[in-house]
Assembly symmetry: C2
Homo-oligomer: 168 residues x 2
């Protein structure tokens, strides 16, 4: 890109949790809201930018699941695959915002259809990676994820979120 | 900077909350852990980089407290000052990390003393700004903050964190 202003294709924000609870369907009439939850593990907030290529996704999933940010009982840092721990994926388009005066603008964000396709494939690759990992399969870890386009009603309990930003 | 690799002086991550609870002193012997809490408002995770200038702080506080990210009962977005709502400031040095292989490196982060000085002044400026705002003063909003250098044990309850990243 000539002006170098935005060569980032995706932004992921990682937080460690003891427990997290995310609404995946709001209450509707008599139907109660639906929630997913995870126990000890990793929360991945994800946002895609315009021009993000789906070929990026395997590398992205590989990096996020292998970076050593999860703390063992002994205080050692290992990957979420090695912990092993649960994963909660939250679509978070707001992460793509830029301040303009007193407002945020989201001009660099991927379009809705494109963003949904990338998000769905990202979730699917995470699920496959955890299912293929013997430690995770044995421990019965869970991959949960939010509904793209919904309000992400989240309750988070941590022993220190240890927040990290990783861009791709 | 010749290579333009890091001209960012500070990174702030914003999340909206209904309620948040942060440990400011761990349990020690017979002494129970100490916590601060806020009700509806804004959580600001903050990280300073090497070379961050304290002259940046007033502008930074001004931007963060005036950007319209807080949702009113009617679904309109206003600043945290206009909501008015509580503010919880969390020092989060991990936000300065960069992936290197399977590990994170924090080479760009400000040193401890420098970081503590910037953080303390940032907190103080936020407190002053909310105290000087008549809406906030009348509503009795709270500014709470974490202890620099501690583990930030956090419990967060949201109606959608609406996560934003703002760099300075």
């Amino acid at each position: 890109m000539a002006d170098g202003s935005n060569t980032v294709q995706a932004r992921a924000l990682l937080q460690q949790c003891l427990h997290a609870h995310l609404q995946v369907r709001p209450a509707d009439g008599d139907a109660a809201a639906q929630w997913v939850e995870i126990q000890r593990g990793l929360v991945i907030y994800v946002c895609f930018f315009k021009g993000a290529d789906k070929e990026l996704l395997p590398k992205m999933v590989n990096t996020l699941l292998n970076v050593k940010l999860s703390e063992t009982e002994n205080g050692k840092h290992v990957s979420i695959l090695d912990l092993p721990g649960d994963v909660l994926i939250i679509p978070q388009a707001t992460l793509g915002g830029r301040v303009k005066g007193k407002n945020m603008q989201y001009h660099a964000n991927s379009g809705k259809e494109e963003g949904l396709a990338l998000y769905s494939q990202f979730v699917s690759l995470c699920e496959k990676a955890l299912a293929a990992n013997s430690k995770c399969a044995e421990a019965g870890v869970v991959v949960a994820h939010g509904t793209y386009g919904n309000r992400q009603v989240l309750k988070l309990d941590t022993n220190g979120p240890y927040t990290h930003l990783i861009e791709f």
